[in-house]
């Protein structure tokens, strides 16, 4: 991609002024999630102007409640994209897991935890099968998972039988998504602040421990002020979320699951050997193989994890909607999942990204659909706007990739 460097506009001397500064900013520095955050602020501003209830505690709590299942499935999509693969079956798998859960719980009267566990295991089995199929026969994953998407949708219809819609009543299952920290949990507000404080302190502790270790090993280390700034930013986000949700019903349990999953998978991808190997396979699978990494094993395990996350996301969605039906996991869910991952900054081409992009991307996607619902826009308009936003997001990703390659990053 040397074409950008060869662009005469970039070669023509050293242009001065604001435009040059802007150009340098976008071509030479790695902005990370900042463009997406700016986009989110713009979206929120527009919707707040259009409807003053958009940024109310009630609606923001609803937003978090609605985005959690999307976010959980998107974490799985990020893992698959890091490998340089794609999983088109995530939506169908989430629907099938919801269907299995509903049939077990309502028709067969299985206890809630059992139904949830079996639903997640169905996801694991599907991931194993698809991962095995992709690696054993060396078929592109988008073909295998496209076949999967059709097949698992069929399985959902088969499992539901003639019933069509099954309404969930089991307290455990419904409580998975819709337990609100302030409204439903005794001392919920206090517990929320305690856990929030532990998170911030734990983060601070790990940052300072790392700094001390690097310093005593004679390596470069960040200044105390940088660390304090990072810790303060986290503390502001945590207390902001708690203050806003506590002004309404409190933090929904679905969001707590999403946060826990994000922390767990951030650790796995950034701090473990297995996580390093995911990035290596996504960056250069042949190099990973020659470095005696078991590429097939890494791929299959990631497929299993992604399908388990899709299944759990589907279960959370069913718990939120209090039902599983023939359209569970269908429609634009798959596209919203992949768009969440990409909007958040995970590359479609493997090896670049972070699980946090699932959170940021799901927040953007869900803000748009929540805002449009609030404005009661008609369906045709909603579809067109959603499509345009997705196209714009993927275009921005492609441009930033070209810039990155031109700048050699």
């Amino acid at each position: 991609m040397s074409t950008l460097v060869d662009d005469p506009r970039l070669e023509a001397g050293k242009p001065s002024g604001f435009r040059a500064w802007l150009r340098r900013l976008f071509t030479e520095t790695d902005l990370g999630p900042i463009p997406t955050i700016i986009g989110l602020i713009i979206i929120w501003t527009i919707f707040q102007i259009a409807n003053h209830r958009f940024l109310s505690p009630l609606n923001l709590t609803n937003l978090m409640y609605q985005m959690a299942d999307l976010g959980v499935i998107a974490v799985g999509a990020v893992l698959i994209l890091l490998l340089g693969e794609v999983d088109l079956s995530a939506g169908a798998v989430s629907g099938l897991a919801a269907g299995v859960l509903a049939v077990l719980s309502v028709k067969l009267h299985a206890p809630g935890p059992v139904a949830v566990l079996v639903g997640i295991l169905v996801g694991a089995a599907i991931g194993l099968l698809q991962g095995f199929w992709t690696t054993r026969f060396k078929i592109p994953s988008f073909i295998v998972t496209l076949a999967g998407q059709i097949g698992w949708t069929g399985a959902l219809l088969y499992v539901l039988g003639t019933t069509g819609t099954i309404n969930l009543r089991d307290k455990f299952i419904v409580g998975l998504a819709g337990t609100f920290l302030k409204r439903d949990v005794p001392h919920g507000v206090l517990i929320g602040w305690l856990v929030g404080a532990i998170l911030v302190l734990g983060y601070a502790f790990s940052r300072f421990t790392e700094r001390r270790r690097r310093r005593s090993a004679g390596l470069t280390y960040r200044s105390v002020w940088t660390l304090i700034l990072q810790i303060v930013v986290l503390a502001v986000i945590v207390s902001g979320v708690l203050l806003i949700t506590n002004a309404d019903r409190g933090l929904p349990s679905a969001m707590i699951f999403l946060i826990a999953i994000l922390i767990l998978f951030d650790f796995i991808t950034q701090r473990t050997t297995f996580g390093r190997h995911i990035y290596a396979v996504g960056g250069n699978a042949e190099a990973a193989r020659r470095a005696s990494i078991n590429v097939t094993f890494v791929r299959i395990v990631v497929f299993i994890l992604a399908s388990m996350l899709a299944a759990f996301g589907g279960i959370l969605a069913a718990a939120r909607l209090l039902a599983a039906n023939q359209s569970s996991g269908s429609g634009d869910l798959l596209l919203r999942v992949i768009a969440s991952a990409v909007i958040g900054g995970t590359s479609l081409f493997g090896g670049r990204g972070s699980v946090w992009s699932a959170l940021l991307g799901a927040l953007v996607i869900q803000s748009i659909s929540n805002g449009m619902d609030l404005l009661a826009l008609p369906s045709p308009i909603k579809f067109m706007i959603t499509g345009a936003v997705l196209a714009a997001a993927v275009t921005i990703e492609a441009i930033s990739r070209q810039r990155r390659e031109a700048a050699g990053r």
């Binding site: 990035y279 290596a280 990053r409």
Partner: protein
């Protein structure tokens, strides 16, 4: 000129042959390389250089012949056997992950952990030590490979190859894709490998580069030895002659006989 001539060679090949169907890729090739020595492996396209290297690095084992490593006969069936002996090969594609930083690449497949989490601190420290001992200059070991120059990438790949108690390093066209300055950096690095007592085999088409770093040159022609030359007593034209098969190149040196035998049979 070889300082370790009396010692046991690090690697000794005796009569290596390899056939692919009807094609005799290698016949009866022999040479040896000592520790602290750089040997150049040259030959025209299809002369058998790559096949020979693949036999040593275990990608496709030889049909016949013996491989001796540090005085004992060894059998190399797969890349892991070669790695276990301390033989590392740096191929032209370098096999680096562009999206990982230098530390991640140096430790790829050998990550250090403290219980579960990666031990980034000790990996980074040892990476710095290795790169310093080889005088490899890189802006930061936390730079992604994608933002390094070709010469720096080659240096990282070579550093990785020597990092793990390697005894023999095979470099396939290390300067092929590099500019003048970067080639110079890599050639200096190869000289430092020799100083550190490694045995090095360099495959190259660039005779100027070969003459700058190697001690001896092994010429392959049509899958056979076509002479082993000491660079201090050889002119570049002699090597060219040996590569192309012109007769007059053969008198100066030791192993002309196999080539002459080959000339008769062909």
């Amino acid at each position: 000129m070889n300082p370790s001539a009396s010692k046991i060679p690090t690697l000794e090949l005796r009569g290596i042959s390899k056939r692919f169907g009807a094609v005799q890729a290698l016949s009866e090739v022999s040479f040896e390389v000592f520790s602290g020595e750089v040997i150049g492996l040259v030959g025209d396209n299809g002369a058998g250089k790559s096949t020979l290297i693949k036999c040593v690095s275990g990608i496709h084992p030889a049909d016949s012949g013996e491989i001796w490593f540090e005085g004992r006969q060894v059998f190399i069936h797969n890349p892991k056997d070669a790695a276990d002996l301390g033989i590392q090969t740096v191929y032209q594609d370098l096999a680096l992950c562009d999206n990982l930083d230098v530390v991640g690449n140096l430790y790829l497949g050998r990550e250090t952990t403290t219980l579960l989490p990666l031990d980034e601190v000790s990996m980074e420290r040892l990476s710095l030590e290795t790169l310093r001992s080889l005088s490899v200059s890189i802006p930061s070991v936390r730079t992604r490979i994608a933002s390094l120059s070709g010469g720096q990438r080659q240096s990282v790949a070579i550093s990785r190859a020597v990092m793990w108690n390697s005894k023999l390093v095979i470099l396939d066209e290390p300067t092929a894709a590099l500019g003048v300055v970067q080639s110079k950096q890599v050639l200096e690095l190869i000289k430092r490998l020799r100083q550190q007592g490694l045995a090095v085999i360099v495959i190259s088409h660039n005779l100027a580069d070969i003459f700058e770093v190697v001690d001896r040159i092994c010429v392959l022609r049509l899958g056979r030895n076509n002479g082993i030359f000491d660079i201090h007593t050889t002119k570049q034209e002699d090597i060219v002659a040996a590569i192309t098969g012109a007769e007059f190149g053969l008198n100066g040196s030791a192993e002309g006989r196999s080539a002459q035998k080959g000339a008769k049979t062909s």
